[in-house]
Amino acid sequence: MKTTTGYHGVPRWIYAVAAAGGLLVVLPLAAMLLRVNWPQFIPLITSESSLAALGLSLRTSAASTVLCIVLGVPLALVLARGEFPGQKLLRSFVLLPLVLPPVVGGIALLYTFGRQGLLGKSLEAAGIQIAFSTTAVVLAQTFVALPFLVVSLEGALRSAGNRYEAVAATLGAKPTTVLRRVTLPLVLPGLASGAVLSFARSLGEFGATLTFAGSLEGVTRTLPLEIYLQRETDADAAVALSLVLVAVAVAVVGLSYGGRRRTPAAVQS
C-alpha cells in the first residue's frame, strides 16, 4: 500500500519538534550511559545481590508471561470474537492496569491476596501464604502485564478476520479444532509480540511489587527494587543495573517490533 504520488505532507518544522521529542527520550538514556563506571561495570552487575535480583527478575517475569498467555489468550478471544452483554465494560476493566499507577495496583492486590484480604484469609486457612513470597511478585507482574498481551492479541485477531475460521467450520471442524488449527496459528506473531511486551512490563514492574510483595534478596527483591535500594548507598551499582534493564528493554522492543511488522504479511499469505 505504498503511496505513489511522492507527496509526504509533513511540514519541515514538524521535524524540528519531532527531533525535540526524540531527544527527550534519548538524552536521559545517553546521560545515564555517560555516568556508567565502566571499569567497575562487570563487578557491579555480577555482585551476589545483583545476580540474585537479575535471576529473580528473569524467573518471575517468565512465570508471569506464561500466566499472561494462559489467562490472556482466552480473554482476547472472548473480547475479539465473543458477543455478550458487558463486553465493553470487561474490556475497559482489563485495560485498567495500563493506566493505573502500579502502587494502586499493589494496594488493590494487598487487599485481595494479603493476610487480611478478601481471598487472603481463606488462602491462609488452606495453608497458602502469598504475602512476602515470590508468588506475590508474579501476581503483581501479571496484574500489570496482562493488558499488553490482551491488547496485542485482540488487535491481531481483529485484523486477521474470521474468514478462514468460517471456512474451517463449514468443512466440519469443531470450534476447539478451529481455534487450535486456524485461529492461533494465524495470530501467532501477534501473540508472540504481546508475550514479549508482557515480559518486558513484568521485568520493569516496581510499584505494585514494592507495595504488595516486599523486598527480600532472592525472594521478592527484583532488579528494579534492587536498583531503588542500591541508589541509597551505591549510585554506581544503581546505574550499572539500570543499564542492564535498558539493554533488555531495547532488545525486547526490537523483538516485538520485528514480530509486529510480520503480522500483516502473515495474514495476507
Binding site: G114, G214, E232
Partner: protein
Amino acid sequence: MSIRRQHFTAILAAGTLAAALAGCGSGTNATATPTSSLSGEITVFAAASLKTTFTQLAKDFEAANPGTKVKLSFAGSSDLVTQITQGAPADVFASADTKNMTKLADAKLVDGTATNFATNVLEIAVPPSNPASISSFADLAKPGVKVVTCASQVPCGAAADAVEKASGVALTPVSEESSVTDVLGKVTSGEADAGLVYVTDVKGAGDKVKGIPFAESDKAVNTYPIATVGSSKNKELAAAFVAAVTSDKGRKVLGDAGFGAP
C-alpha cells in the same frame, strides 16, 4: 458598589505585586513585628520522618514572623542530599542521620557547621491485636514471626543491624524495605506481625499500631542534624529557622512527637 469593589481589589493587587516585585513583602507587616526584619521565602529540605513536626514548626515560624514563607520538601535523607548537590534550591537541610549531613558537608554545601537538634530510637511496631504476642526484641526471632525491617543501606536498617549485633538476637525478616514508611505500611495492613521502626513513627501512626519499646534500642540512637545550605539565597531567614527548630519551643514540638533531646 461592585465596580468600586473591583477597583479596590485592583489597587490591592497592584500594591501586592509592587511589593513583591520590590522584593519587599514585609511592608504591611512591619508594624506587627517591630523586632524582626525577616522577610522572604525559604525552602526547607527535611527527612521524611520529620514531616509532622516540621510542618508544625514551619507554621509556628510563619506566624511568629509575618511576611515570611517556609516551603517544605520531605523525602529520604539521601535523596535530599542528591537533590541539593544536583542544584535543587534548598535553604535548610534537616537530615535523619549524621552520615547524610557529612555527605552534604563534603560537597561544600553546608554553611558553617550543622547543629544536632533531635534523636530517635527504634521501637517495635505491631498490629493493635499483636497477633504474634511480641513483648521483647528477642520475641522477634521466634519461629513463624513475620518481621519486617529496613534494608541495611538505609538509616533505619543500619540501626536495626546495630541493635541485632548488640543484643545477639539474629532476625530473619520476611522483607527488608527501603524506607521506614514501607515497614510501617506492612504492619498497619496486618501483613507483618512486627516491624522495626522509629518511636516517632509509632506515635505518628496513632492507634493503627502498638509500640513496644525495648531496652536494646539505646544501642542505636539516630541523631538528627540541621544546617543552612551553602547555596542559600536567604541565609538570614534560613539561620532564623534553624534557630527556631533548636529553640526550647522547637524542642517541645519535637519532644511531643517522640523525638529525644540531642
